[in-house]
């Protein structure tokens, strides 16, 4: 039996950054908002015993319970897709705050180049720079159009940074808080990259350098550099996350309710509109329909795509014909880099999730690609995020992986290693896409999402180019031994890489080539909005959430406008 509840103005599926931002903005405008979150309530008070690497970083305490739902994966269509049975390559969020609770806080604006990549590449390098298999396209919005929303998100978060990067887009205002502390390790990177003629700057950080009150009146504390940040919640309320900012801001209006243990399984569509969502109470397994005037999918890249697919909204992408847009342009990231082994010990165990310095000299189109067989690039950084002993066992090349020599080398080098790593852009390819799996189901009986993904020649060329740059920087840093990462082989879903999945519900200017318009409003249902890195038409050389946050503010404006005026916003 399904119980139909009282209708609300706006329902969001999931309460992470995107769901929280929609809630705060819409509730402040007087709209009644319900957030349906499959996970549990949690907050700063739950993190007083969080400095436990095994529980949080190794056993994934705060992340998605795969026994209930996962995805399936194969490298190509010749393989049989099989379930991702344990977490690895990326760590999906679950519970209040979503992945925003346990993120690092490295907060970037994608480059002006990213939003108009197709136009700019064609103009500068000709239309055949990449083969037609690479389905790059413009995003249907420019950096300048998005700038006010970047500004808004950064002020909500209180980003700590410095406007010293010559390669990023123009900012309408400086960072809300000054950069984090520049440690000895960061200075070493700064000196080396300066010597090589590059322009290092402090990474923009959501671990705040000082206490801050945001425009909503929410207070964020100063980071204590505790070293348990990435994969952990912050016990100080110093890592800006949805549950300490936008969620309480929404609640204070009296117009917002978060319903926990509510797993959405379908978006209900009638004609050219949606009427609400169907969900299970995960405790009792009762089924409910939550009607709403507007439905906003904020359930991360994977489930945003899956919910559209199982609800039969939009046309599924078919790699055979190139037809359809839903599931198209899934992209990821590559991680070229090099490590340096030093004689002297460093305080590697201290740090914060977004404590680092970066150069953008090889990101975007900052360098000429005329003689190169790839486009785009990578941000190159050295970070001090807090090394922990279970997952950090660095050994120089040639060391066995267990036994006496391994023990000695991994202990010796735990405090003697510093890495330089790139986050390389990822161009969409016609064979990299999302669809529904035909075999495996979640515990609600809904098909799993199927990921078809492998690295491409573009990835390999970019990877080796950036690896060389990173290696040269580590040498300049004076490392005793320099170990460059090996070449890219096949994408492997086992080792952790990044939770920077993108695409599948891409935005654009044309319903034939995108799923949502540039207010993230669905082309086929005007009261349905879809937000997340799934909107990215390709993945850039940075972490995604700064751009996701900007898009969420833009979308919130769209939802509010739609609620008043109706119709397509495109």
């Amino acid at each position: 039996m399904v119980t139909t509840l009282e209708s609300v103005d706006v329902v969001t599926v999931g309460v992470g950054w995107t769901g929280g931002i929609i809630a705060a903005e819409c509730a402040k405008e007087g709209l009644k908002v319900v957030g349906l979150e499959r996970g549990r309530e949690r907050g700063t008070e739950d993190f007083s015993m969080v400095h436990d690497e095994y529980r949080y970083a190794v056993r994934y305490e705060l992340m998605q319970d795969l026994s209930k739902e996962t995805i399936t994966f194969r490298n190509n269509r010749k393989q049989r897709a099989l379930p991702m049975r344990q977490l690895g390559s990326f760590l999906l969020g679950e519970g209040l705050g979503g992945a925003g609770t346990h993120w690092n806080g490295q907060t970037w604006r994608f480059l002006p180049y990213d939003f108009e990549i197709k136009t700019m590449t064609d103009k500068k390098y000709g239309a055949n720079k990449l083969s037609a298999d690479y389905t790059i396209q413009d995003w249907g919005i420019t950096y300048d159009e998005l700038e006010p929303y970047f500004d808004r998100f950064e002020k909500t978060v209180g980003i700590s940074g410095e406007d010293k990067n010559p390669f990023w887009g123009k900012r309408s205002s400086d960072f809300p808080t000054p950069p984090m502390k520049k440690t000895a390790m960061l200075q070493r990177f700064e000196n080396a990259t300066s010597n090589l003629g590059y322009t290092p700057f402090m990474m923009p950080s959501a671990n705040l350098s000082e206490a801050y009150e945001n425009p909503d009146g929410q207070k964020i504390n100063a980071c204590q550099y505790c070293g348990f940040c990435e994969r952990f919640g912050c016990e100080y309320g110093a890592k800006t996350s949805p549950e300490i900012t936008v969620v309480p801001a929404a609640k204070e209006t009296g117009n917002y309710e978060v319903r926990f243990n509510a797993n959405v399984v379908e978006v209900i569509k009638e004609g050219d509109k949606v009427t609400g969502v169907r969900y299970y109470d995960t405790v009792t397994f009762e089924e409910f329909i939550q009607p709403a005037n507007a439905v906003v999918l904020t359930s991360y890249v994977m489930n945003n795509a899956k919910l559209l697919m199982v609800s039969d909204i939009g046309q599924q992408y078919d790699p055979e014909t190139g037809q359809g847009t839903l599931g198209k342009n899934y992209a990821y990231q590559i991680l070229p880099g090099a490590s340096g082994f030093f004689d002297e010990q460093m305080n590697t165990f201290m740090g914060a999730g977004a404590l680092g310095m970066t150069i953008d000299d090889f990101n975007g189109d900052a360098f000429d690609h005329g003689d190169l067989d790839f486009i785009h690039g990578a941000s190159i950084s050295s970070t001090q995020t807090g090394s922990r002993p279970i997952l950090s066992n660095p050994t120089p090349p040639g060391t066995p992986s267990w036994g006496a020599d391994f023990k000695r080398a991994s202990i010796e080098n735990f405090t003697r290693i510093q890495g330089v790593g790139g986050q390389g852009a990822s161009m969409p390819h016609k064979e990299n896409f999302l669809t529904l799996d035909g075999t495996y189901k979640d515990i609600y009986g809904v098909p799993l999402l199927q990921l078809n993904y492998n690295f491409t020649d573009q990835d390999r060329a970019l990877h080796s180019y950036i690896t060389e740059k990173a290696e040269a920087i580590v040498k300049e840093m004076g490392a005793k031994t320099v170990a460059a990462g090996g070449g890219l082989t096949d994408y492997d879903i086992v080792p952790y890489q990044t939770t920077h999945n993108t695409g599948g519900t891409i935005m654009g200017a044309d319903p034939d080539t995108s799923v949502v318009n540039n207010f993230l409003q669905h082309w086929d249902a005007e009261n349905l909005f879809v937000i997340g890195a799934g909107n990215f038409a390709h993945n850039g050389g940075y972490n995604p959430t700064g751009t996701v946050g900007a898009l969420a503010y833009r979308c919130a404006e769209g939802v509010i406008r739609y609620s008043r005026e109706g119709g397509s916003l495109a």
Partner: protein, 266 residues
């Protein structure tokens, strides 16, 4: 973010060196087991001594039955997953080969790793309670990861059985009675996927065992391993500290006495 050090994870096969001067199990008993016995409590030391040097004692010192308390906390150490001393001793020796005692400090046994693993296998780790375990099951590509229908604790149990079988067929002895190099030969065979396991590949078992050994050596002592925080001490890791804001800009390496997350809550 990403963990850069993963790239450094050396996948090279551990070379069997005949002249490898790894200490043998007997040396362990002489040099570390008894000397650090106070840290270890009832189970393993009793069991090891029983099995190796003093057969008459074996039945009276089986792990989990001695009820001996360790340290000042009054905690009792025993087995919650393994059912026989033999299984427990075999896994103990295997972890010690992976993470041996040396001049830097204790090895896996001295750190309580076998107890850590025993406890984990009895709980949600061993039962795969957060993993997707619905069928159908197929052998996949290595890039597709864990595809076994077996739970981790079933894989360990089978793996230990096969370690014993290999010890018998190769050396006509129990695994625990082998010399260190002989144990290494068997572990390397698992690592190189040369041992036929049912429902899972032996390299996967080895990877689990290696990883669990490191987890036991370095997890907070609240999980029963990393005894006396000696894993952290060796590595220069201070465990749970409230804040580093005062030291973060230091030019020099800062040595800090480690603390457990459990110390907050006494």
């Amino acid at each position: 973010m990403y963990i850069q050090n993963n790239q450094l994870f050396n996948r090279e096969v551990h070379k069997m060196a005949g002249k490898d001067k790894n200490f043998s199990r007997r040396d362990f008993l002489k040099t570390s087991g008894i000397a650090t016995g106070a840290l270890i409590g009832g189970g393993i030391i009793g069991g090891l001594i029983g099995a190796n040097t003093n057969k008459q004692d074996a039945t009276t010192t089986a792990p989990g039955t001695s009820g001996e308390t360790s340290g000042s906390t009054g905690a009792v150490r025993g087995l919650t997953f393994f059912k026989t001393t033999a299984e427990f001793e075999a896994i103990s020796q295997a972890t010690e080969r992976i993470f041996p005692e040396d001049d830097l400090g204790p090895g896996a046994i001295g750190l309580g790793v076998p107890y850590f693993i025993d406890g984990q296998l009895a709980g949600s780790y061993g039962e795969n309670s957060k993993e997707y375990m619905q069928g159908p099951f197929f052998v996949g590509e290595p890039t597709q990861g864990y595809q076994s229908r077996l739970k981790r604790n079933e894989i360990f149990r089978q793996g230990i059985q096969l370690m014993e079988q290999e010890a018998q067929s190769r050396f006509e002895a129990k695994f625990v009675d082998l010399e260190g190099e002989q144990m290494d030969e068997i572990l390397t065979a698992f690592q190189e996927n040369e041992i036929k396991m049912r429902g899972v590949e032996s390299q996967f078992f080895f990877r689990l065992l290696r990883q669990a050994t490191l987890e036991g050596a370095y997890a907070d002592p609240i999980y029963g391993g990393n005894v006396n925080m000696d894993g952290w001490r060796m590595k220069g890791f201070p465990g749970h500290q409230l804040a580093y804001i005062k030291d973060i800009e230091s030019e020099d390496f800062v040595e800090i006495d480690p603390k457990s997350v459990g110390m907050n809550h006494k």
